[in-house]
């Protein structure tokens, strides 16, 4: 995903001479080609995230299209004030890149976890927030973010995430259909790189003959409520899988959408609980431990897919809202 970002960045800068890239002293080796090609349009501001954001805001006020880069936990939380005021209040078009969003750096410990990045960025009025699922979505979304008149946040993972195939185009602000459901009246939706794990779960379900609709909400803010309304006509349950805290992420957004309706599907969430992730697990270990790896997603689909699960939707909805393994 990061390679896809570096390539998309090169292309964007080639196409638009106002694109300028600023890093908070991260991305060793990743942007060598950019630096060689564009010289002063590559700026390392140092380990100074507040300055990273304010300098980008100043550039944007002078008609530049800054893209700023740091590790997701440092790109969002540390300069939240600067993003809120110098980007959000000013309404300037700066693209904030959070590398290693979510729990990409699970094994590096809590300082490197960014389980609140989508929530923090979504809190800011006028901010567009996206979490692509694979390298192709990164490549497709970056140019679309550069056309916005206001600020945006793009969460990218690391290197080597699997690419997936889907016919539906990658359109900013629109949920993307990854798999059409087959005689299933529930859906699995996701945001960010967990999408490929959801697709792994679908492979596990093939012997069971269970094939729910699978949608990727790469755009978290603004949420594609039209897609949700259309989905609500077809399904009784939406399973939301997210690598984000339960507050402020995709499940929270979908729950808000659901709460505004008089009726609609039950929402089931799989993802990390609102708790610290200690123990420095690897990403697969963490997903397994917290109940949102492919096996856990498949197991939930089997539970939801069974006809017996369709009764008592409202009474069990709350119990299903978290994936806390306890």
């Amino acid at each position: 995903m990061r390679k896809a970002f570096a390539e998309a960045l090169l292309q964007a800068a080639e196409k638009d001479p106002r694109v300028i890239f600023l890093t908070g002293d991260l991305g060793f080796g990743t942007f060598d080609a950019f630096q060689a090609r564009f010289g002063p349009r590559y700026v390392n501001v140092g380990v100074a995230e507040a300055q990273l954001v304010c300098a980008a805001a100043g550039l944007a006020l002078e008609g530049w299209r800054p893209i700023i880069y740091s590790i997701a936990s440092f790109a969002t939380g540390r300069p939240f004030e600067q993003i809120r005021i110098s980007l959000g209040y000013a309404g300037v078009p700066v693209v904030v890149i959070g590398a290693g969003g979510g729990y990409t750096y699970a094994s590096s410990g809590v300082t490197h976890h960014a389980g609140e990045d989508l929530g923090l960025m979504s809190l800011i009025p006028g901010m567009t927030v996206v979490a692509p699922g694979d390298p192709n979505e990164v490549a497709q979304l970056l140019p679309q973010l550069l056309k916005l008149s206001g600020p945006s946040y793009l969460r990218v993972g690391k290197y080597g995430e699997p690419a997936y195939q889907a016919d539906d185009a990658v359109v900013l602000g629109r949920a993307r259909l990854l798999r059409e459901g087959d005689r299933a009246d529930f859906a699995v939706v996701s945001t960010g790189q967990i999408a490929s794990v959801v697709l792994d779960a679908m492979e596990l379900l093939k012997p069971d003959g269970i094939a729910p609709t699978v949608m990727q909400f790469h755009t978290v803010q603004p949420l594609d409520t039209a897609a949700l309304d259309a989905l609500a006509d077809k399904v009784h349950t939406i399973i939301v899988v997210e690598e984000h805290l339960p507050v402020g992420g995709l499940a929270a957004g979908i729950s808000t959408w659901r709460a505004a309706r008089s009726d609609g599907p039950r929402i089931v969430r799989l993802g990390p609980p609102h708790a610290l992730v200690l123990g420095n697990p690897t990403v697969p270990e963490m997903r397994k431990r917290l109940g949102f790896d492919a096996a856990a997603i498949a197991a939930m689909c089997r539970t939801i897919g069974r006809p017996a699960a369709r009764g008592g939707i409202l009474s069990t909805a709350n119990a299903r809202l978290t994936s806390d393994p306890t």
Binding site: V45, A48, A50, A55, A57, G58, E62, I85, A90
Partner: protein, 261 residues
């Protein structure tokens, strides 16, 4: 304005008024006839709470009708009690949260230099603002990028919201701090017009270095009962206090002058 708008910050506004008057009377390359000219100097007023001084200076320099000052602090006014670029688009920045202006200026200058645009950038900020770490992140960047068209003026009135800046900064020198960050810096009496104009005329102080002027000022300058009083950071004047202050200054409000004319 502070009386009509029921908003204080007079101490912070009066301390920097001389600096604003000097900047807007010949030093800044800005014109009311073309306020968004590409080659204008960029002026970032970073101590947004003191914006009454900015508004009065802008009106005096012809950037807005003086009558507009009467709307200060009123709902939906172009002149809210912390300067807002949405309300008053001739501004370069909105302010009210400290520690943003210097960073904005460094980014803007970096971009202007890439465009071969010779514009300068000036930031007027407060000494309390220099408590913010983001100021020093920006100072480091400005020196590293050799932004010698950058001028930071620190209104060193020594007063903060509830304390004295000298105590809160451990009795250390702002001039030395900027020098240590690779800037050229000098300290002046910021309420003395000759000293201000001399310092501005000497900018840039050294090639390849950003400039800082540490302007030693008096909070509430010009009004004896407000001078150097922490109380007047927030206090809104009563009618009697307003009259006393105006009598001492020998002035009447710009917007009132016009109403009665």
């Amino acid at each position: 304005m502070a009386y009509d708008g029921r908003e204080g910050h007079l101490s912070s506004a009066l301390s920097c008024t001389d600096l604003l008057v000097a900047l807007y009377n010949g030093w800044l390359n800005v014109s009311p006839d073309d306020p968004k000219s590409a080659n204008r100097d960029r002026f970032y007023f970073s101590k947004g709470h003191a914006c009454t001084a900015l508004y009065a200076t802008l009106a005096d320099a012809g950037f807005m009708p003086k009558q507009t000052l009467a709307s200060y602090g009123k709902t939906d006014s172009p002149l809210p009690n912390h300067s807002c670029r949405h309300a008053l688009p001739i501004l370069e920045n909105s302010a009210g949260s400290l520690g943003h202006g210097l960073g904005l200026a460094t980014g803007a200058l970096y971009g202007l230099r890439l465009d071969n645009n010779p514009s300068r950038a000036v930031v007027l900020m407060s000494d309390g603002e220099c408590n913010e770490g983001s100021v020093w992140e920006a100072a480091m960047f400005a020196a590293a990028q050799k932004l010698d068209r950058l001028l930071a003026i620190v209104d060193n009135n020594g007063l903060q919201a509830v304390g004295r800046s000298d105590v809160l900064m451990g009795h250390t020198s702002l001039e030395e701090k900027f020098r240590a960050f690779g800037w050229s810096a000098r300290t002046i009496n910021g309420n003395n017009m000759t000293e201000i104009c001399d310092a501005l005329a000497a900018v840039p102080f050294a090639p390849g270095r950003p400039c800082a002027i540490i302007a030693k000022t008096v909070g509430g300058s010009g009004v004896k009962f407000m001078e150097d009083q922490v109380l007047w950071h927030y206090r809104t004047p009563s009618e009697e206090e307003m009259k006393r202050a105006l009598a001492e200054l020998g002035e009447s409000p710009l917007h009132k002058e016009l109403t009665h004319a």
